[in-house]
């Protein structure tokens, strides 16, 4: 349960020196993608930060988001932060099950009324609630009940943020996002399939440190992580500017590390921190390993008409993206753009006619 001790007191009790605390603050600033000049402010805020209660609800999801988070969970800054939040309910991770687990959720809600953070991964089925229930409670009912007294909601992963894979055509469950249902609470969307672990912990660290939510973009994603497109931060960008593109995955251009735009990279319309935060303890990220960005942190990325079709039309309703993508299409030539419009049209038509019966017949 949430404690009255501040994080500063707690760290000192664990024998962390002042130099250690300074290091912790430096790493926290880096984790939150804040400039190093913020370290003194972070140190001051962490000295006063209380241990918040966190309730984590998993709905229609694949547990990839939890995997992403826990795989990064070796003793690190992230784990130090997790030592200082009180994860009171997470039905995948907690030892309790059944009625005891639900009792823990209710107790945390009651004791921390109005103060706890609600984390949600997975979409919510509205078409038929029977597709996903927990302890006999529908996802919709549990979300509404738990959101009621939350201080803020963090929608982790593209499913919770935008509907994600469950919402892909033909959306058999009638899947919707958290923000489609909850309208009266601050919601932070941490999209990605899965999201970058340090982005998940960075957002929680921000709330823990400052007791407030970070600046958000038009999709309610934290600007510090989602403020720039993959394309703008990509180390292969200069090749795009010079018109040097890989045409296949094994041609000379691919071997020389040229731009993957023509191979379907969705970097120009995707906003995420992969190019700087990277994956697997900073080892690499999709473009660095030779594959285009799938655009997994954007709404409706699954129904964009093919991961390997060059981008010429936007898959999100971001007006800036429309302008950018159109310009990019022009740069590549009208013929290529026309071809892609045709592909997109075909994909849209094809998706419109797919039913569960069709899928069963073809399998």
């Amino acid at each position: 349960m949430a404690e009255k001790n501040t994080l500063g007191e707690s760290l000192r009790r664990h024998g962390v020196s002042r130099r250690g605390f300074l290091k912790f603050c430096t790493a926290t600033a880096s984790l939150m993608a804040l400039p190093p000049t913020m370290v003194p402010a972070i140190a001051e805020a962490l000295e006063k930060a209380k241990r918040p209660s966190v309730i984590w609800l998993s709905f229609q999801e694949c547990t990839g988001c939890t995997e992403s988070l826990t795989r990064s969970h070796s003793p690190s800054v992230e784990s130090l932060i997790f030592d200082h939040i009180s994860l009171d309910y997470h039905h995948t991770l907690q030892a309790a099950a059944g009625e005891a687990a639900e009792a823990a959720r209710e107790a945390a809600m009651h004791e921390n009324k109005g103060k706890y953070i609600l984390v949600v991964d997975g979409s919510i089925p509205l078409g038929d609630p029977g597709y996903s229930t927990i302890a006999g409670i529908s996802n919709l009912e549990m979300l509404k009940e738990t959101a009621k007294d939350a201080a803020a909601i963090v929608a982790v992963g593209t499913c919770a943020a935008f509907g994600g894979l469950p919402q892909a055509n033909p959306n058999p469950t009638g899947a919707v996002s958290v923000s489609d249902i909850i309208k009266d609470k601050p919601i932070i969307n941490v999209s990605g399939c899965p999201p970058i672990p340090t982005v998940i912990t960075g957002v929680l660290a921000h709330f823990l440190t400052f007791g407030s939510i970070p600046d958000l973009d038009q999709y309610n994603r934290p600007k510090v992580f989602y403020g720039q497109s993959i394309h703008d931060r990509c180390y292969r960008r200069p090749f795009y500017d010079k018109g040097k593109f890989a045409e296949t995955f094994d041609d000379e251009g691919a071997k020389a590390g040229w731009c993957l735009y023509k191979l379907g990279c969705k970097g120009p319309m995707t906003y995420n921190a992969c190019a700087t935060a990277k994956w697997n303890q900073g080892t690499s990220w999709p473009v660095e390993s030779g594959h285009g960005c799938l655009g997994c942190s954007e709404p409706r990325f699954w129904d964009a008409g093919g991961f390997y079709n060059a981008l010429s039309v936007p898959i999100s309703d971001n007006s800036q993206t429309v302008a950018f993508a159109a310009a990019a299409g022009l740069a590549l030539g009208a013929a290529a753009a026309g071809l892609n419009y045709k592909n997109k049209d075909e994909a849209t038509k094809a998706h419109g006619t797919v039913t569960i019966d069709d899928l069963e017949k073809s399998s």
Partner: protein, 150 residues
């Protein structure tokens, strides 16, 4: 000749990826401007290298170009931290690791001495008390009193 013509780097960037390092030169320029600011106004700068979109080999190339200076220090708190002065005085590489030896922050500090190396004021006050106790115990030993073993 540009810095990209430097073939002495043993970094992975030289493995068939020539021309891919585009972030080293702008970063070196940023360091140069920061050092100028430090010299002229005393204002220090910290650059978070985890916020820079490095391509393969960029980081190794940068470290290679900055080289090693006279001072190297290691701190052991919440995991290891190495502080290395580069061959450019006032330009430091500060590399933070956790107890699992995973990097948690990596910065270039342009400053006379990184803050982390300074003794912290609160620690010095505590040390003053501690030193007083040690002096007291040693005095008692000299006066033939029983040694006060804590």
């Amino acid at each position: 000749m540009s810095v990209f013509d430097n073939k002495s780097s043993e970094s992975p960037s030289s493995c068939g990826l020539a021309g891919m390092s585009h972030n080293t030169l702008p970063l070196l320029n940023e360091v140069s401007h920061a050092l100028k600011r430090l010299v002229r106004t005393g204002e220090s700068t910290i650059i978070d290298l985890r916020a820079i979109p490095f391509g393969p080999g960029d980081e190794a190339r940068l470290i290679n170009l900055l080289g090693k200076g006279e001072v190297q220090a290691t701190l052991d708190t919440l995991g290891k931290t190495t502080v290395t002065e580069t061959r450019f005085a006032g330009v430091w590489l500060v590399d933070h690791y956790n107890s699992e030896d995973e990097r948690i922050a990596f910065q270039i500090e342009i400053i006379d001495i990184p803050e982390l190396l300074r003794a912290q004021t609160e620690d010095m006050y505590e040390s003053l008390d501690l030193l007083g106790e040690v002096v007291e115990v040693e005095k008692q030993k000299l006066n033939g009193g029983s040694p006060a073993i804590q």
